[in-house]
C-alpha cells in the first residue's frame, strides 16, 4: 500500500482510487460490455469462454464466476461496473449489498427499514487497501 491514503483504515470499505482502477481496468471494462444485450446472452451461455476474451487475471475471472463481489472489489472492481454482472443475473442492488455484508436479503432489508447500518457499527478494519 502506498502512503497518503487517509481512507485505508475505513472499515469494510475499499475506495476506488487510481491504484484500484488500474488493477481493475479490464475487469470493469468486461462488466461494461454487459451493457449490450447480445454480449449478455453470450456471457450467460458460456461464462468462461466469454471471460477468456478479456485480459483479466485468473483471480478476477474466478471471482466473477463465483459472484464473489467483495473479492472483485478487492481486485479492482467498482460497484457501479460490477452492477452490470448482477443486473445480467436479474438481481438488484439490495441483493448484491446483502451478499457483500454476509446477511440474507431479508435481514439486510430489515436493517435498512429500521434506519440502515449504524455509524457505530463495529466492523473489522481490512488489512490492505
Amino acid at each position: 500500500m502506498r502512503p497518503n491514503k487517509p481512507y485505508s483504515d475505513v472499515p469494510g470499505t475499499t475506495v476506488f482510487d487510481a491504484d484500484q482502477a488500474r488493477k481493475g481496468y479490464h475487469l470493469n471494462m468486461f462488466c461494461m460490455s454487459l451493457m449490450k444485450a447480445q454480449n449478455r446472452e453470450r456471457f450467460k451461455k458460456d461464462e468462461s469462454g466469454y471471460l477468456a476474451e478479456w485480459p483479466m487475471t485468473e483471480e478476477q475471472k474466478q471471482a466473477v464466476i463465483a459472484r464473489d463481489y467483495n473479492r472483485m472489489i478487492e481486485l479492482g472492481g467498482n460497484i457501479y461496473f460490477l452492477a452490470k454482472i448482477f443486473s445480467t443475473d436479474g438481481k438488484s442492488f439490495v441483493y448484491a449489498a446483502a451478499l457483500m455484508t454476509g446477511m440474507t436479503q431479508e435481514q439486510y432489508t430489515k436493517m435498512m427499514l429500521s434506519g440502515g447500518r449504524s455509524p457505530n457499527d463495529k466492523l473489522p478494519i481490512k488489512e490492505n487497501g
Partner: protein, 283 residues
C-alpha cells in the same frame, strides 16, 4: 438576461425510477417517499423553469473507464435515457439548451474551470430520476435541461470547495447570457449510503441532518469539509454530496428554504431533498 431563481437538491436512487416506471409508487414501501415530493411537484408547476441546469453523476453508463472527465457539460440538442443494462427507462427524451450550454462552457472555462464539452451523451438515472421526482410522468418534459456530469466514481472527485467555487462561476456565466430565461440549478445524489463491501447499508442520519442545515445556512464552512470525512461519515457513495455544493454555490448567500424532506430508506440509501429560493439580496 438569464437568472437563477432557485436550487433543488435531491437524491437520485435508481430504484425510485424503477418503482415509478412499474407503477409501484403507491405501494407501502414507496408511498412515504413519493409523498415527500408532492409539494415539490406543485411548487415547480407554480414556478416553472425555462431551463434546469442539472448536476449529477454518470454511473458507468455514458462514461466507462476509457474517459473520466471531472466536470462534463452536455451541449447537445437532446439526450436519450441510457440503457443501464435492463433497457432504457420509458420516459421522454430530454431536450438540451445548446446555446446556453455553450455560453456557460465558454464563460466557465474562462473563469479557470476546465470543463469537458460533451456533444453526444446518453443520460442515466442520476439525471432522469430527479426529473421524474419533480415532474412526475409527463409525455414531454416541461423544460430544457443542461446535464452537468461530475466524476464521483474514481477517487478523488473534486473537493467540496472546488464544487462550491464552480457553482459561483456557473452563476456568473448564466447571469451574463443575453436572453430572458428562468433557470433552476439542481444538485443530485447522496445522501449517506454505501453500496459496497461489508459496510454496505451504512446510513448516518445525524451527518445528513447536519449537512442539510449547513448547506442552507453555512455553505462556506460546509464546502471546506475534506473528502475523507464524507467517506467516513456518509459512506463511500455518500461522497456524491459534493455535487450539492455546486448547486449551493450558484445561489445567493442567503436563501429561503421552501421545502425539506428526508427519508430512509430507498433501497440502500438515505434520501434527502431541499428546495431553496434565491432572495435576490445579492444583486
Amino acid at each position: 438576461m438569464a437568472r437563477i431563481t432557485a436550487g433543488v437538491a435531491t437524491s437520485h436512487v435508481p430504484a425510485i425510477g424503477a418503482a415509478q416506471d412499474s407503477g409501484k409508487s403507491s405501494e407501502p414501501y414507496w408511498a412515504p417517499l413519493f409523498k415527500g415530493y408532492e409539494f415539490s411537484k406543485h411548487w415547480v408547476a407554480a414556478n416553472p423553469p425555462d431551463v434546469v441546469f442539472l448536476v449529477y453523476n454518470d454511473h458507468a453508463s455514458a462514461f466507462s473507464l476509457e474517459m473520466i472527465p471531472t466536470f462534463a457539460i452536455g451541449c447537445a440538442e437532446r439526450f436519450a435515457p441510457a440503457d443501464e443494462g435492463w433497457g432504457p427507462r420509458p420516459i421522454p427524451t430530454i431536450s438540451g439548451h445548446p446555446e446556453l450550454a455553450a455560453h456557460i462552457a465558454q464563460s466557465v472555462i474562462q473563469q479557470d474551470f476546465d470543463l469537458t464539452i460533451v456533444n453526444r451523451m446518453d443520460v442515466d438515472h442520476g439525471l432522469t430520476v430527479p426529473l421524474s421526482l419533480m415532474f412526475g410522468q409527463p409525455s414531454e418534459w416541461p423544460c430544457r435541461v443542461i446535464p452537468f456530469a461530475v466524476n464521483v466514481i474514481q477517487y478523488p472527485p473534486p473537493s467540496g470547495h472546488r464544487c462550491f467555487q464552480l457553482g459561483k462561476a456557473i452563476r456568473r456565466a448564466i447571469n451574463s447570457f443575453d436572453e430572458d430565461l428562468t433557470v433552476h440549478i439542481w444538485g443530485t445524489g447522496g445522501m449517506s449510503h454505501q453500496l459496497q463491501g461489508p459496510r454496505a447499508g451504512f446510513i448516518n442520519k445525524e451527518f445528513d441532518r447536519r449537512f442539510l442545515d449547513r448547506l442552507v445556512s453555512d455553505p462556506d464552512a460546509l464546502a471546506r469539509v475534506p473528502l475523507i470525512d464524507y467517506i467516513r461519515e456518509a459512506g463511500s457513495e455518500g461522497i456524491e454530496l459534493v455535487m450539492w455544493l455546486i448547486m449551493r454555490g450558484a445561489l445567493d448567500s442567503a436563501v429561503r428554504e421552501i421545502h425539506r424532506f428526508y427519508h430512509v430508506p430507498a433501497s440502500n440509501t438515505a434520501v434527502g431533498h431541499l428546495i431553496l429560493e434565491n432572495t435576490m439580496l445579492d444583486r
